[in-house]
Amino acid sequence: WAARGGGGVAPSSSAGLEPRPPFAPCASDGEGVATGTRRDFLGMGLLAQIGRALRSAFAPSPRRPVGRAMASDAPLRFDFLVVGGGSGGLAGARRAAELGASAAVVESHRLGGTCVNVGCVPKKVMWNAAVHAEYLHDHSDYGFEGASGQFSWQLLKRKRDAYVSRLNQTYQNNLDKAKIQTIRGHATFVAGPEPTVEVGGKKYTAPHILVATGGRPSVLTDLEVPGGLRGDLCWLFFLFVSFRRSVIVGAGYIAVEMAGILSTLGSRTSIILRQGVVLRNFDSYISNNCTKELLNAGVDLWKHTQVKSVRQQRGGLEVTLVTKDPDTREEERTSVVQDVDCLLWAIGREPNTSGLNIREMGVELDEKGHIVVDEFQNTTRKGIYAVGDVCGKALLTPVAIAAGRKLAHRLFEGKPDSRLDYSCIPTVVFSHPPIGTVGYTEEEATKKWGKDNLKIYKTSFSPMYHALTTRKTQCIMKLVCAGAEEKVVGLHMQGVGCDEMLQGFAVAIKMGATKADFDRTVAIHPTSSEELVTLR
């Protein structure tokens, strides 16, 4: 969720449905956007149409017709030109400017990219709202009377959008302060003696061009799932009604996070997954536990199931599912979920590279369209670099930011070795309760070191917070240690507070901490994190 750049973060606008001019400064009128969205959505009525509208909104925008005559004048020159004003692009541009480079950022829509607009930030705001729902369950257990309430989606949405708008403005201010030019519009590479970018009919060039256009949720085509309706994650962030019945397709972390938020906020929620557990790429200890926690929270899981078709009915969508457990000899079963008012596809993400004309520049893309880069973020074309989600590796805001900054140091501070080390990147899934993980899973470590050279430490306990509550969640933790010195190569945990626990451990694990170092560290009492340094 690192960046959504030149491809455009056009939440409410689409080719046929434009609530406001595309180049209007966006930060000041976040509320306006919201209202526009709402009116338009209501006006359209049918969710199917929303889906279609959004599909086009989030597809890479078609190149805009060039209004004026093609600029005959020479392209405007910078030291550093960044395509995409998301996490990676902005960080790179700002660092380059700090190091004295003249820089510009091309962005077609709101600054901040996926993270700020349709990713981490609004997600965590909604997660926090859901955490309050959990607290409200617990209040009476802690002696509070009268703490029960109704949830207002509108109020949360208004606050969340206002906060996102403030961040958009902050980003704009940061660019202005750093004297980085903001170029509004969609970038397309054009042929020339040196790589050149065209935006709104004007040409821009630089000896160093950074592509940080991010990605967007994958959607299925009508051929894949008849019914034509599409939901997607960005849509959820711009929703305006409460959902009674949600169906989430996918088993990755986005599906898990959204299911947790929706279900905790009172929507009856189902997850449709092809396999038997969620988060299959995580350590099996985590994926099994997370699956269990979802079930405990009342989310219903349709395992070994796929969506066959979707139909619009009077009460909402009718989603037809096909279930086939490969381990049993049972026949394929077909089921129908009725009255769905939120169908969300969380089946993966794809890069925003089409429309950039970048392949034609000699930049190699992989089969999924990701830009191929080396460890220094170089593409196959000299002078063009890429960071963040568009490269398809570790789709995380801080990764994009760090990669962008490292690149700036390499290009403008003469530090030829400056590059991001992609090992030991910690990540948190804001599930209920949250998951923290860094390093190798046990499965990966077994492949790398062999079972006999691994030592696994595990614990499972009920966090002290739940000592007084009738609602319970478990906290589970696992250390994967390799070799005779028991170097900690993986840490996986799920439980209340694991989101905030992980960072420091990630520092230590990256430093090469061993189990003995963990043992030598004095605990902080009473916390959950102390369990990690007292594992036996």
Partner: protein
């Protein structure tokens, strides 16, 4: 009890302590006798028993001046960490009600808090822990004796049951882990008579009501914090500074936040007397040291949190020749936790110069048990001890305070990186985050080794544990910067901190 009497006979009949060549175990009733069933004592006895030693632990709770009693587990479980953290959680939920409304929750009526409900649940939880400790001792074959222990000589411990029955046990090694108790300012008239301490607050049968907390230690501030948080009118009376021994800039942030969230502070004031009015409320008179004037107000409860003292007077230390520090009354120990008598050890709050923290007592106890069982030789390392103050805005730290780092290394030799950050949960809740702060104190030269880390904010304890591990591994400032952040968390701010105090630049974090 029959069994205990038999041991006494054994001691009498064997009584041959002079032949060191004999298998020592058979000389004594036990390999190890531990006096005190708190964090350190329990950890030590269980570990030793697991390593095959014959162990007994004596635990007895002298009722507080107000008559409060509790079970096995010591301060932490009964009148310390556990109940205070649970009440801290209650207080956090109190502010969560307000935040929740900003997050879209419509709460129709007024929200109130019932002390009795909370206290009952907290007490039940503590009792379940008492029971859990009993069961664990049994499982691990540690003999538990509900007796007050004292030394008779270097190998003999006298135990007295609550009913006054006596017995003696002999042991090759004796571990003293009797901890400490809150002090009363006995020079203040009415203090003992009408006041309570942290030994009582968690076991009150009814709400303390309007409360005066005297003192500014972490105990005082934590108690005042949760009392305010559950809606009680709370005042903290401070003679000099808050959180002595902690980084004073951080201490200021902690008390600023408390003031902003409704705790009242009477700075530079010393209590003079406490009187009980006919109505039953307490009238407290104090002197404002700045104006030199006396002032008074009435409270329902006065809680003294003016420090803790070791209980060494009744341990019979002199009989065995165990030395104490005359000033503090604590037992003088070496790096191996041994007292002046080589087979008598002291761990935890009772020992001189040790941090008064559960995890250090536990760790020291376990390591001691392993050494006594000849299974390891490792000593407890008392450096790099992280700690968290569970005030409404939690504060956690490891390593040196900025002031201490300056003293040791000189102002020019250290670099302080700092940041004022806003936790994401504060934004929508429209909470003021001006006390959410991070400070990393590093050496200025070389590889910029980290000397101290300080963090105020939600979940400070959970955030800091991992950094304490890094610190233990010798983390440098570049180690922080080279770790990818976790977004969006508060903890990630520690890996992003880049403004130096020296630069004078604004340290407010903006954007992601």
């Amino acid at each position: 009890m029959a069994a205990s009497c038999r041991w006494r006979h054994r001691f009498k009949s064997f009584g041959c302590l002079h032949n060191p060549k004999r298998h020592l175990t058979s000389l004594y009733d036990y390999d190890i006798v531990v006096i005190g069933g708190g964090s350190g004592g329990l950890a030590c006895s269980k570990e030793a028993a697991q390593l095959g030693k014959k162990v007994a632990v004596l635990d007895y709770v002298e009722p507080s001046a107000k008559g409060t009693k509790w079970g096995l587990g010591g301060t932490c479980v009964n009148v310390g960490c556990i109940p205070k953290k649970l009440m801290h959680q209650a207080a956090l939920l109190g502010s969560a009600v307000k935040d929740g409304q900003k997050y879209g929750w419509k709460i129709p009526g007024p929200v109130s808090h019932d002390w009795v409900t909370m206290a009952d649940r907290v007490q039940n939880h503590v009792k379940s822990l008492n029971w859990g400790h009993r069961v664990q001792l049994q499982d691990k074959k540690v003999k538990y004796l509900n007796m007050k222990g004292s030394l008779v000589d270097e190998h003999t411990v006298r135990g007295v049951t609550p009913k006054g029955k006596e017995m003696q046990l002999t042991a090759r090694d004796i571990v003293i882990a009797t901890g400490g108790r809150p002090k009363y300012p006995t020079h203040v008239p009415g203090a003992v008579e009408y006041g309570i301490t942290s030994d009582d607050i968690f076991w009150l049968k009814q709400s303390p009501g309007k409360t005066l907390v005297v003192g500014a230690s972490y105990v005082a501030l934590e108690c005042a914090g949760f009392l305010t948080g559950v809606g009680l009118d709370t005042t903290v009376m401070v003679r000099s500074i808050g959180l002595r021994g902690f980084d004073q800039q951080m201490a200021g942030l902690v008390t600023d936040y408390m003031e902003a969230y409704g705790t009242k502070f009477a700075w530079k004031c010393v209590p003079k007397k406490v009187e009980k009015l006919p109505s039953g409320t307490l009238q407290v008179t104090w002197t404002d040291m700045l104006s030199k004037r006396d002032e008074c107000d009435t409270f329902d409860t006065v809680l003294w949190a003016v420090g803790r003292a070791p209980e060494t007077q009744h341990l019979g230390l002199e009989k065995a020749g165990v030395q104490i520090n005359q000033e503090t009354g604590k037992i003088v120990v070496g790096p191996d936790e041994a007292t002046s008598v080589p087979n008598i050890y002291a761990i935890g709050d009772i020992s001189q110069g040790r941090p008064e923290l559960t995890p250090t007592a536990i760790k020291a106890g376990k390591l001691l048990a392993r050494r006594l069982a000849r299974q390891a030789s490792e000593f407890m390392n008392y450096d790099n001890v992280p700690t968290t103050v569970f005030t409404p805005l939690e504060y956690s730290c490891v390593g040196l305070s900025e002031q201490e780092a300056e003293l040791r290394h000189g102002k020019d030799a250290i670099e302080v990186f700092h940041a004022f950050y806003k936790p994401l949960e504060f934004t929508v809740a429209e909470r003021d985050a001006s006390q959410c702060y991070i400070k990393v104190v590093c050496l200025r030269g070389g590889d910029q080794r980290i000397l101290g880390m300080h963090f105020t904010g939600p979940n400070a304890g959970e955030v800091t544990q991992g950094f304490a591990l890094g610190f233990q591994c010798g983390a440098t400032y570049p180690h922080l910067l080279n770790t990818v952040g976790i977004h969006p968390t508060s903890a990630e701010e520690l890996t992003k901190v880049h403004i130096t105090k020296r630069s004078g630049l604004d340290a407010t974090v903006t954007g992601c």
